[in-house]
Symmetry: C2
Subunit: 314 residues, 2 copies
Amino acid sequence: MGQVCFGVDVGGTTVKLGLFSMDGSLHSKWEITTRKIENGKYILEDVADSIGKKIIELKLKMEDIIGVGVGIPGPVKRDGVVLRCVNLGWGVFNVEEELGKLTGLKIKAANDANIAALGEMWQGGGKGYRNIVLITLGTGVGGGIIVDGNILAGSNGAAGEIGHSFVNKEEKDSCSCGNSGCLEQYASATGIVKETHRLLNKTEEPSVLRDLEEITAKDIFDCAKAGDHLANISVENLCYYLGVELTHVACVLDPEAFVLGGGVSKAGSILTDLVKKYYEEHVMFALKGKEFKLATLGNDAGIYGGAKLILDTL
Amino acid sequence: MGQVCFGVDVGGTTVKLGLFSMDGSLHSKWEITTRKIENGKYILEDVADSIGKKIIELKLKMEDIIGVGVGIPGPVKRDGVVLRCVNLGWGVFNVEEELGKLTGLKIKAANDANIAALGEMWQGGGKGYRNIVLITLGTGVGGGIIVDGNILAGSNGAAGEIGHSFVNKEEKDSCSCGNSGCLEQYASATGIVKETHRLLNKTEEPSVLRDLEEITAKDIFDCAKAGDHLANISVENLCYYLGVELTHVACVLDPEAFVLGGGVSKAGSILTDLVKKYYEEHVMFALKGKEFKLATLGNDAGIYGGAKLILDTL
């Protein structure tokens, strides 16, 4: 199968691994459990073992393996040093050196949100672009930035933290970060559910949502698509906050495209269309006409990005 | 004097030129008039002539000249192509190739706001940092972004246009860009004057500003420093809008420092202190503690940045 590389996405529960050809096609993917005991000291050993087994299984030659690109759920410095990953129990050490010793392969590591953005640019919703912003709308709101084909990590690895941009000075409730009025409080799955409950409590207006025992973000989007007025107000609210925030992002970066991922993005074109609408209404003329795409790689974005990261070292 | 390079800043009225040593010290600087007749066709010839005269005057050897870095008041693509400079009357052409033919020297060109940021990073208020955002508070509000020591230009050269970030949905008056509620409407010299007049009209509160025939941004800052309550409200208003906008910028870029330049920045530490105050109040924990510096190169930032740009090609 010619030259290959591995993409690895270390998460708090599982580690995802993928074997890729040079052209970006995924040969096989699999998962292992993230062993977090004893401050996560076995995680990299398990990754190395799993890669070793795959090498034997497929009779890969070491000289055909470009290396391993790894996404880490925390800040990673340019030299491969991770600065505490609370999720994994890790302290400060050089993950590239460690995994390199364990595998005998070349390793390149980066933050998982940034790697996902790289993956989406390479083979996902951002394919064909070299300057994208990936916004992940899940339990929280995350971001990954690609400039000229490369990850923009920021001076302390906090670039792309747009979930905690301050968007509403009227907000009284606290965000998970401790501030109030963060984008995440309106544009995440949990945010839209909370805002919808607020709306339901504020009016007497009938809505299908009132009949549901528990409301999810998916319910709200489904009801909005089915024409429920109140659900539509909620969806518009999310898209307003996100669309306006992306005008700020555009004024800073001038990207080619925004790629929306995470669970909320399964809502599809209703999301991209409305976010684009509010974006266009508020952005300066020189930044109009950006593309709004849906992410397409789902949970595989990280392994794709890992593969691209190591291929970019060639 | 060993190896040298030229930094050139092409403006709508004058072209500024500087001769630099490799270590960043300015050997001499001078200006020529920007001849805008006939769609600015003589501008580059004049620049080449002026450089040629300096070479003869100082008996410089061609092999000792690294090249010329040029700032242009408009978008410049990576390959040196300028995409219409309305100010100069220029259409679309490769400024690096043209000036290279005229001088026989290596040329590198970039947008003037970006070059100013590069200059401030190299020898000005951002010295010692590799990731800065320069905000120029003049008639308008401009921005230049440096990431890992390099200019971030954006996919269409519009990165750093934070003057046109949308910051106030209550605003009814139009910005020069056609939108309403842009940062520039509050944080520029013209913006603070306009907001101050609004404030004076809205209240009966006494203020020294009422005795002035014409109010300038400098007057407002001077009165604020002298304890005038109304002037202080105006200054706080400017710093609030700018400080909050910089929290958005930080969530995108995670820079090391913000550098404030332009006429308004002559107000000094009252400006940086208050902008920092509002920034710290609204930014997420991971992005607290950024440095807020004053630009120090004034109108020379462009020639410094030009010199750095060409030195970076070595």
